[in-house]
Amino acid sequence: MATKKFMFVNRKAPYGTVYALESLEVVLISAAFEQDVSLAFIDDGVYQIAKGQDTTGIGQKNFSATYKALGDYEINKLYVEKESLEERGLTLDDLMDLTWEDEDDDYEEKPSIHLVDRADMAGIMAQQEVVISF
C-alpha cells in the first residue's frame, strides 16, 4: 500500500464530546497501516495533551495516557499551535512529556511535540495529502 501523508486535526477539548477519543483511535488504526501520520492540536484541542488530567468527577475513562504510546507507533509529529496555547494561558510545560525512541540513534528519547505558530501550521497542513478534522 502506498504511504500517504495523513494529518489528524484536533480542535476540541478531550471530554464532553467523543471527538478526541475517536480521533485517537483512528490515529492508532492509521498507524497500523504504516502511513505517514502527524497530528495537529489547535484551539481547545491543546487540552487533549495537557498534563494531570483527572476524570474521576465525570465518570469517564481517562485516556490521556494513551498519547504516551504514540511514540511506540512511530507517531512523533505532534504539532501544537503556539497561539492556541497562549490564548489559554498555557505553555509547553503544561503539556505531557511525549517522546519517541529513535532506533537509528541508539534509542535516544526525542520530543514528539513541536510548537509551531499559526502560519507554520497552515504550511504544514498544505503539505498533507489527507487532512481529517475532529
Binding site: E25, L28, I29, A31, A32, K61, N62, F63, A65, T66, K68, A69, D72, Y73
Partner: protein
Amino acid sequence: MALEINGTTYEQDEEGYLVDLGSWNADVATALAAEEDVELTDEHWDIINFLREYYEEYQIAPAVRVLTKAVGKRLGKEKGNSKYLYSLFPYGPGKQACKYAGLPKPTGCV
C-alpha cells in the same frame, strides 16, 4: 457469553473477551486459554503479564507490531519476532494474548 470458575461468573463479549477488565485473575486466563485448547506455559505468561502492564500504563492494548518490538526490547531479541509470538498464540498474538490477559481487542485489529 460467560465463564464460570469456582462459582463466580465472568461476563464475556460475543468474541469471548472479558467485559470487566477489573475482574480478571490468573484463573480466568487459564480458563479462557482452555476454551481454545491452549495450556499456558511460562512463555505465555511472560506475554500476558507484559500486556497487562502495557495496558495499565497506556490504557490500550498494543498493536501487534508494537507488541513485537516491545517484547524484543523487554524479553530479548529472540522473542521479539512474529514467528515466536505466533508459535505461542497461533490465532494471532494481539487477539489471543489480549483475550487471555483480560484486555479488549487491540485497536485497529480486525
